[in-house]
Symmetry: C2
Subunit: 117 residues, 2 copies
Amino acid sequence: MARAATTTDAFNAVAEPRRRQILDLLAAGERPVGELVTRLGLAQPQVSKHLKVLREVDLVHVRDEGRQRMYRLNAGPLKGIHDWLVKYEQSWNERFDLMDAVIEELKEAEERDGRDD
Amino acid sequence: MARAATTTDAFNAVAEPRRRQILDLLAAGERPVGELVTRLGLAQPQVSKHLKVLREVDLVHVRDEGRQRMYRLNAGPLKGIHDWLVKYEQSWNERFDLMDAVIEELKEAEERDGRDD
DNA sequence: ACGACACATTCCCTTATGGGTATATGATGA
DNA sequence: TCATCATATACCCATAAGGGAATGTGTCGT
């Protein structure tokens, strides 16, 4: 099996930096494709393809405005990522990391071996 | 060019469900590979490979314990994801989505064009 | 109806994925 | 030293990615 499709979920869709950039741009408000193309400095087809992925995971909504297509952010699906992340939040906000390090050093010193990779 | 490597950053590493599961298991504490294999119901080589990816993005630390290898969570790199997500948090927690929609409708009705920058 | 414009879709190509299976490495105990 | 346990690596395979370039589709102005 290959890697899961980028359209599988928000996790995969957002793993691509360009798509995060697009969402960042859309966070400021609705934008037509052309403007995204300009701001991203990417070719138009590429942007359209990224937008398609974002559409498929429902991270953006489209609206027809004459010959333009206005894309708008729909952050909802990002909540899933956030929900998963939340349980790890204390791990970096508080000093649990430090504590862990200390504990590990103690173990290593007491017990024997110090491989750390 | 192909998709960015899974080892590029936490975003890509965590896009894979199995790897999230591994982190979830490690969140409960240090674990040897064998136990992860059992709990995941995955073949051992696959687990080792996933762990390698997680190691490369520094999401886990290893410690040698006799012939076992104890893996431990290192949530630090997840902070980057969280930091990116934070700016979207209001979009789903509060009714900004709804507000946006209303504002947009107003704009459409009044002005016609929805540029926002 | 026609040409310009704004996007979307398609095809080609290189690259890496993730699972399966087999094998290598490293530590332990007899 | 040898067999065994615990992991890691190497290979093979099917799949899809993301960029480049060309083309299709729908809209607007004249």
